[in-house]
């Protein structure tokens, strides 16, 4: 029998241990969390390891590389930007834990470039960024709900919404591939649901809609999906998937001799990442490129191979000097671009930045910030939507997305995909000299 004296001693011992653990640190209050006279501390959670790491693990280091470049050129009003990177393994629970660490332990000023729909939803609901007035700048997800300022008052989108992307692809299908049997593969979460909303708005009906649970994508599961697509005699297959799902789908289909017209959604179509994802399956880069050769894709920004573009050109230079040894691709371009956007937001918040000032600056000036997207971001006092327009292209054997038309026509709809798709002549802001913002 357990002795109660021993039990009592154990309780006391455990009490002391708990109390000591809890009392380990007391942090004094600052004027504004994460801002000192010499530094602005920012935080990001991304999948640095795990199933979604290939490709996505390049985003945060690319952001850091741009901030290093910025710091070498004066920082933000003399303050260095310090980006703290945490690995969430693309798991919502981990994203909550790591975001809590960033806020409570590292005491960051703001979150930047938080990646993934499910992760950002989990963070928004449990870390309660809104009620705690903690800014989350340029979340790397296209979930349209994040534009809702009332629900997510401190969250600012970056990408065009998945709903808009769905409607734009749907309209393209209606106009160009209406006679074909069309099918869809999408992630079984708000990423897929949001895109499905857009397809429904466009009036597209899929002969087969394969939904997969995030984290289950593999060659084995892709074989099941391909089986369903073949059985439904799909002639056009839209992949609203992450790269780690796109890669096995293309590989398994190729092995099975199944060659539909692929339409790759913008999320999982970075060809460098696809090549990386296919390598473990024993598919060398040269063969991998052939898998997506001829696939239709769409993007809101220039292709990373477009060296004539001023943004791509600058980011390639920064990558070569501050992110050595890393192959330049969409992930690097996106990481650096949103670091550039954050830099402009920090400058717009003034010389004595507070979280409230930062949010106000993004709402009042955000739509004028320089960003790689061909259309401006939709940050206003009433909406926190990101970019809004896409162009269509076709992948070549080099893995480059080449515009379908020479004019690179931009197509747009509203963030919630309630409006019909139209062509737009939207213009983006010019890149600041040397990519160093001077705005206020």
């Amino acid at each position: 029998m357990i002795s109660l004296r021993r039990n009592k001693k154990s309780v006391l011992f455990a009490s002391v241990v708990t109390s000591v653990a809890l009392a380990a640190s007391v942090v004094p209050a600052n004027a504004e969390t994460g801002v000192s006279s010499s530094e602005i501390k920012l935080g990001i959670t991304v999948p640095m390891t795990g199933i979604a790491a290939p490709g996505y693990n390049k985003v945060a280091p690319a952001m850091k590389a741009y901030f290093d470049y910025l710091n070498a050129n004066g920082g933000i009003y003399g303050r260095k930007v310090n980006l703290i990177i945490k690995d969430d393994r693309y798991i919502p629970q981990e994203a909550i834990n790591k975001t809590n660490e960033l806020i409570l332990k590292d005491r960051v000023f703001a979150l930047v470039g938080q990646l993934g729909t499910a992760n950002n939803l989990a963070i928004a609901s449990k870390v309660r960024l809104g009620s705690r007035k903690i800014p989350s700048i340029g979340v790397l997800t296209g979930f349209s709900g994040f534009a809702d300022k009332k629900k997510y008052p401190t969250t600012f989108m970056s990408f065009p919404s998945y709903a808009a992307e769905g409607r734009i692809i749907g309209t393209y299908i209606n106009e160009n591939l209406a006679s074909k049997t069309v099918c869809l593969v999408s992630q079984n979460d708000d990423f897929g649901t949001d895109a499905a909303k857009g397809f429904t708005a466009a009036g597209v009906k899929f002969a087969e809609h394969v939904k997969y649970v995030s984290g289950t994508q593999s060659s084995a599961t892709a074989q099941v999906w391909i089986g369903k697509l073949v059985a439904a005699k799909c002639e056009v297959v839209v992949l609203m998937t992450v790269s780690s799902a796109t890669a096995p789908v293309l590989a398994v289909a190729n092995a099975a001799g199944y060659k539909p017209q692929w339409i790759l959604g913008s999320v999982g179509s970075d060809t460098t990442t696809l090549k990386l994802s296919l390598a473990p399956a024993g598919i060398p880069a040269a063969q991998a490129a052939a898998l997506f050769n001829g696939a239709i894709g769409l993007s809101f920004a220039p292709d990373p191979s477009d060296t004539a573009d001023e943004y791509v050109k600058l980011f390639r230079e920064v990558n070569a000097n501050y992110n050595k040894g890393v192959e330049f691709d969409n992930n690097v371009a996106i990481g650096m671009n949103y670091a550039l956007v954050v830099a402009q937001a920090l400058r717009a918040a003034g010389t004595s930045p507070t979280r409230a000032k930062l949010i106000k600056a993004m709402e009042t000036k955000g739509s004028t910030f320089a960003s790689i997207g061909y259309s401006p971001m939709g940050w206003t006092a009433t909406s926190h939507a990101g970019h809004s327009a896409f162009w269509f292209g076709k992948f070549n054997l080099a893995g480059e997305l080449k515009p379908l038309d020479a004019a690179r026509t931009l197509y747009t709809t509203d963030n919630n995909a309630t409006q019909p798709v139209t062509k737009t002549t939207a213009k983006r802001a010019a890149l600041p000299a040397k990519g160093i913002p001077t705005n206020s």
Binding site: S3, R5, N7, A23, M48, T117, G215
Partner: protein
């Protein structure tokens, strides 16, 4: 040695709770958040101690009961708009009921067969959320304890509120479990664990006792699951298989027969990631090291404990002291 009366134990719990609240008021938010995690993990480990340490049944899938409790609480809040206290009650009722049903299987199974069955439950159960839309898929369900009452003031943070709720609920639960384990039920379970045949010869209904242990253990695990859902999310990713293993590790580290040790086990589990971070930072912050080191440390501790102190360090210290005292006499 003499037993403390229930009143004295109750007074000890009240004093301890009071100390916790005072400490929580003087530390930063991170420690308060970790305090809530420690409280919740303590109850989860205690649920394993009831089952394994007392009744001798091995469960490798207790994370599944945490998931059931969390989903039961979240569903009752989402679809019935139940008040928060009622959702906690629902988590206990539903998991106890499922524990009761599983207890029948447990009555027929033992050792590796029972461990395998519970393991299968932990592997399969969270994925069900992706099959039924009302369970919220990968994103999960919203489960909210609400904001702290305005009368506590603006400085009363959300995490302090979580800590208060967790500490209060866990202290009550631990008090009830402690009393139960010191009642005839606790003695019956220990007899069952020591020698089922002898226990049966003494007139103990083995199957009934096993079912009861499973039911109560599941209920406690369900309650801790609901609290875990309160501070994190109610989604499959919150209840991975590794959660079950981590809880077992906590129980083994603390001494699987020591209820008070469950708190020590919980503290160790919460502190390990911090230690891992310090080590990985000194090793150059490799992401792979940072991600895998906590699991590695837990595994090493588990192996060392099983090799050198199979009943937990507290038990080893006690035995050594007794041996020392005998040698003196």
């Amino acid at each position: 040695m003499h037993n403390l009366s229930t009143k004295k134990v109750f007074a000890l719990f009240v004093i301890f709770g009071w100390i916790l609240l005072i400490v929580a008021d003087r530390v930063d938010e991170l420690r308060v958040y970790q305090g809530a995690t420690i409280a919740i993990t303590t109850l989860a480990i205690a649920s394993i101690i009831i089952l394994t340490g007392y009744s001798g049944q091995v469960s490798l899938g207790h994370g599944a009961f945490l998931a059931i409790g969390a989903y039961a609480a979240a569903l009752s809040q989402t679809y019935w708009q139940s008040p928060f206290w009622f959702t906690l009650l629902m988590s206990v009722i539903v998991t106890s009921l499922i524990g009761f049903i599983l207890g029948f299987a447990a009555g027929r199974l033992s050792g590796p067969y029972l461990a395998g069955t519970t393991l299968a439950l932990a592997v399969g159960l969270p994925t069900l959320a992706n099959q039924f839309t009302f369970l919220g898929g990968e994103t999960g369900l919203v489960y909210d304890a609400g904001n702290p009452p305005a009368r506590f003031g603006e400085d009363f943070t959300l995490y302090k509120w979580f800590f208060w709720i967790s500490a209060f609920v866990v202290l009550i639960a631990m008090f009830l479990i402690r009393n139960l384990l010191h009642s005839r039920y606790g003695r019956t379970w220990k007899a069952l664990r020591a020698n089922p045949t002898a226990a049966q010869l003494c007139g103990i209904n083995v199957a009934q006792s096993k079912i009861l242990a499973f039911t109560i253990s599941a209920g406690a695990a369900g309650l801790s699951g609901a609290l875990l859902g309160m501070i994190s999310i109610v989604a499959p990713s919150a209840f991975p298989l590794s959660l079950s293993f981590t809880l077992i590790t906590g129980a083994v580290l603390a001494g699987v027969t020591s209820l008070a040790g469950s708190m020590l086990g919980a503290v160790i589990l919460v502190v390990i990631p911090e230690i891992a971070e310090v080590i990985s930072t000194s090793l150059g912050e490799s992401e792979k090291v940072i991600s895998n080191l906590p699991g590695f440390i837990v595994s090493v501790l588990l192996i060392l404990t099983v090799l050198f102190s199979p009943n937990g360090p507290a038990e080893s210290i006690r035995k050594r002291r007794e041996h020392h005292q005998k040698a003196k006499h």
